[in-house]
Amino acid sequence: MKGKNRKQNLSDAREVDGSYDQLTDSTEDDFELSTVCYRPEGLDKLQEQTKFTKKELQVLYRGFKNECPSGVVNEETFKLIYSQFFPQGDSSTYAHFLFEAFDTDKNGSISFEDFVMGLSIILRGTINDRLNWAFNLYDLNKDGCITKEEMMAIMKSIYDMMGKCTSPCMQDDTHREHVESFFQKMDRNSDGVVTIEEFIESCQKDENIMRSMQLFDNVI
């Protein structure tokens, strides 16, 4: 109601000026959206579903809630947060893929549960769990196999994060070569796609990868 009167008084002014069309309209709408709040399930329930201890969940939630008081992270915020860690390059594409991987219920935002589930698998899961999660990340259309195009996109997004100033100089087709070598290693039956079995099998045979898995031992 209040909004309508204000609009009438200024309508002629706005028509002349032409620059205030959204000024009075949008402020009214914004008030409604910002009061939406999302509360996660109880601490106990989360403790059951994930492999974190109570204290760890508390610390995680405090950080999460401080960052996103409304209880959910949308893609923009997600990209922004992730880009803080990689100031040299452009991490938005990789952040987008990560967002897709974390947002398991595909509702366009990551709630605390999604967040904590994902972290639990990566940080506290078995090696197979982690490999499964990585496969899910690479499989952009979630059809059960990784094609060359998907891997190209992923590889490019990772190389983008490095930025320009690298040594040796980043070439145009660096990531292409990398994809080729990846497919050579992973694609057993050389049918042009990597399925989950091929992926897990090849990874388990690779010592480097197995050794690197201890990376996640003390992240939290």
Binding site: R62, Q84, Q88, Y94, A134, M162, C169, M213
Partner: protein
């Protein structure tokens, strides 16, 4: 870094699972966790007021005083708390910034005191939230202006001229500030007097004097004593011309002087006289000559050099021009409407004054402003009805909306300004914040230099590295993992350019098969390098700034790659053209076009010591002007 980064680091590290299967080499070992992972509550004692907060809260912003190891300098062993001898009221706001991520400006505080506190705690003012930003900016501008005025006034009147100043400088000073020397003051008053004399003479010469003997009609004094008035006019114009020529001679920038308002007024004041001199006593042109004499009245504007108030009035009118314009427009609309109506209403009447619509304008204006001269009155009934409506609406149209329109448009004007201002400032602020963030890249490189990435137990690390916070260790480890995944290393601008140069040398002498692609890449590498060199930034944050230009630049790396890809099969010449095109494309950002390929640029300053953490907001102030351009141009692209 912006809000909450430290809390999201575990997530970023977990996300590295996506790199593992792709890495060609194995990942480095993660850093050991020295301290317990439990969050502890820190006590910060600010002049007796004890504030308590989680350590994680403070760690959120590692490039501020409280978030970095700098606070250890303030740690009091006996009381096991951090003691700061600063204002506790201000500290509340600082601490709230850590808690909520938004910095608010307390309106009752002095702006300078607030700025000092921010500088002490290492927080850049650009982070102030939108809610308080405008207030902060306005107060700051006000304060600056106030201080500037004072220093200007001081400088102008009190600082003595250097002893070896030329005659020109002294003369200019005397003209601009008559209070500096007696001669100048005398000259000032003399010119003032002559302006007054000239204006009065102009006025008096039109007053009718008693007719001289032998004539019937009263003559205006100007014609009776024409010689006297002519001499007076000549004397005044002599003085004005002399003054103008002196000012012109003394002006430090003659072009600017000629374009200034006051000099235009001077010229307009004296021109009619000279034109009158050269024009012959011809009846045909005397009409035009008379018009010229009107311009003599502009001499009165010369008083504005003598009066501050006049200048302020002129400035106010100039700044309210748009509101006045709209007022005029709405009045014009009303006038046209009523004039048309009156004309058609009075059309039928005999001997009517309302001969045309423009003729009715006069009636409408006189009626609406409630003057009512009575020289034009409607006689038909319809005319009288509409005439009365016109006069009633005159009150409404003029008296009522004037305050409403003025206040409305003052509000809309300011709001409009605010929106544009905010948009422009947002870009600048983002650029500055990015600049601060880019300190982290150099932190990583410095970390590497000091052996941070080696095994901790091997003892090769510098002490400064060992004492780094857990967060830094983990973040640097994350970046190291990315390096291992892609098999490339992070470098700074300088090393990158060297490497690039070296590689392009190699490629030129080596095999020819992929020469086109390599060359395309290297020339585009080097053209960008040449461009970046063109940016002269003198202080030690050179590498920081380049890092951030490059960050802004990476937006365009994506765009430019398709160009160079298509040139993979092209001949060398085409490539050069392509690079040229590419260069122009990104030159829009840097706005300094430089020739491509090898320009041995010796004037590149040597790569200075990387400062690591950018804290001083002063440094960024220096670079802000360069960044405004770049930031704004990028968004327009």
């Amino acid at each position: 870094m912006a809000a909450g980064v430290a809390t999201w680091l575990p997530f970023a590290r977990a996300a590295a699972v996506g790199w593992l299967p792709l890495a060609k080499n194995s990942m480095p070992k993660p850093p050991g966790d020295k301290k317990s992972r439990h969050d502890e509550i820190l006590i910060v004692n600010v002049s007796g007021n004890r504030f308590q907060t989680w350590k994680n809260t403070l760690d959120r912003y590692p490039d501020t005083l409280l978030g970095s190891s700098e606070k250890e300098f303030f740690f009091n062993e006996e009381t096991q708390e951090y003691f700061f001898d600063r204002d506790p009221e201000m500290f509340r706001h600082i601490l709230n910034f850590y808690r909520t991520g938004k910095l608010h400006y307390p309106r009752h505080e002095c702006i300078q005191a607030f700025d000092e506190e921010l500088a002490f705690y290492g927080i850049i003012p650009e982070i102030i939230g939108d809610c308080c930003m405008e207030e902060y900016r306005d107060r700051k501008k006000e304060n600056q202006e106030r201080l500037e005025e004072d220093t200007e006034a001081e400088m102008a009147t009190e600082t003595p001229l250097p002893p070896d100043s030329t005659l020109r400088e002294r003369l200019w000073r005397a003209f601009e500030n008559p209070h500096t020397s007696t001669m100048a003051l005398v000259f000032y008053y003399v010119t003032g007097f002559f302006i007054a004399v000239s204006v009065i003479a102009n006025v008096v010469e039109t007053v009718p004097c008693r007719a001289p003997k032998g004539m019937l009609k009263d003559l205006p004094c100007g014609e009776k004593f024409s010689l006297a008035f002519f001499c007076l006019d000549t004397a005044c114009v002599m003085i004005f011309t002399f003054e103008y020529l002196m000012r012109f001679f003394a002006a430090p920038s003659r072009g600017k002087f000629m374009r200034s308002v006051m000099s235009v007024i001077d010229v307009v004041a004296i021109m009619p006289y000279y034109i009158g001199l050269v024009m012959p006593e011809n009846e045909d042109v005397s009409g035009a000559f008379v018009t010229l004499r009107v311009f003599r009245v502009f001499r009165i504007f010369k008083f504005s050099r003598h009066s501050q108030g006049l200048r302020i009035l002129g400035y106010t009118l100039k700044s309210c021009a748009s509101e006045l314009g709209f007022l005029l427009f709405s009045l014009t609309m009303a006038i046209i409407i009523f004039a048309t109506v009156m004309f058609y209403a009075e059309k039928g009447t005999k001997d009517t004054n309302f001969t045309s619509i423009p003729a009715s304008f006069w009636y409408t204006i006189v009626t609406m402003t409630t003057l009512g001269y009575g020289d034009m009155v409607p006689s038909s009934i319809a005319g009288k009805i509409f005439g009365s409506i016109c006069s009633l609406s005159g009150v409404l149209v003029i008296a009522l909306p004037v305050p409403v329109i003025v206040s409305n448009f003052s509000r809309i004007y300011h709001q409009n300004q605010r929106a544009d201002k905010r948009r422009a400032q947002l870009k600048i602020r983002l650029a500055r914040i990015r600049l601060a963030k880019s300190g982290t890249t150099n932190a990583f490189l410095q970390y590497k230099e000091h052996g941070g990435l080696q095994d901790q137990s091997s003892g090769n690390q510098a002490l400064c590295i060992r004492n780094r916070s857990t967060f830094e260790h983990q973040h640097n480890h994350l970046l190291h993992c990315l390096e291992k995944t892609t098999n490339h290393e992070f470098t700074d601008e300088h090393t990158y350019n060297e490497v690039c140069m070296a590689e392009s040398m190699d490629y030129r002498t080596s095999r020819s098969t992929s020469i086109s692609s390599q060359q395309g890449q290297s020339t585009s590498c080097c053209s960008r390098r040449a461009k970046r060199r063109a940016i002269r930034l003198a202080n030690s944050t050179v590498s920081v700034s380049r890092g951030s230009i490059q960050e802004l630049d990476t937006l365009h790396v994506q765009k430019s790659i398709p160009q160079s890809r298509s040139s993979l099969n092209a001949r060398t010449q085409d490539l050069k053209l392509n690079c040229g095109g590419d260069m122009d494309f990104t030159a829009a950002i840097i706005s300094i076009p430089t020739p491509p390929a090898n320009t041995p640029d010796d004037s590149l300053p040597p790569s200075p010591a990387i400062p690591g953490i950018l804290r001083n907001s002063q440094q960024m102030g220096d670079m802000s002007s360069q960044y405004t351009q770049e930031a704004i141009k990028i968004s327009s692209l």
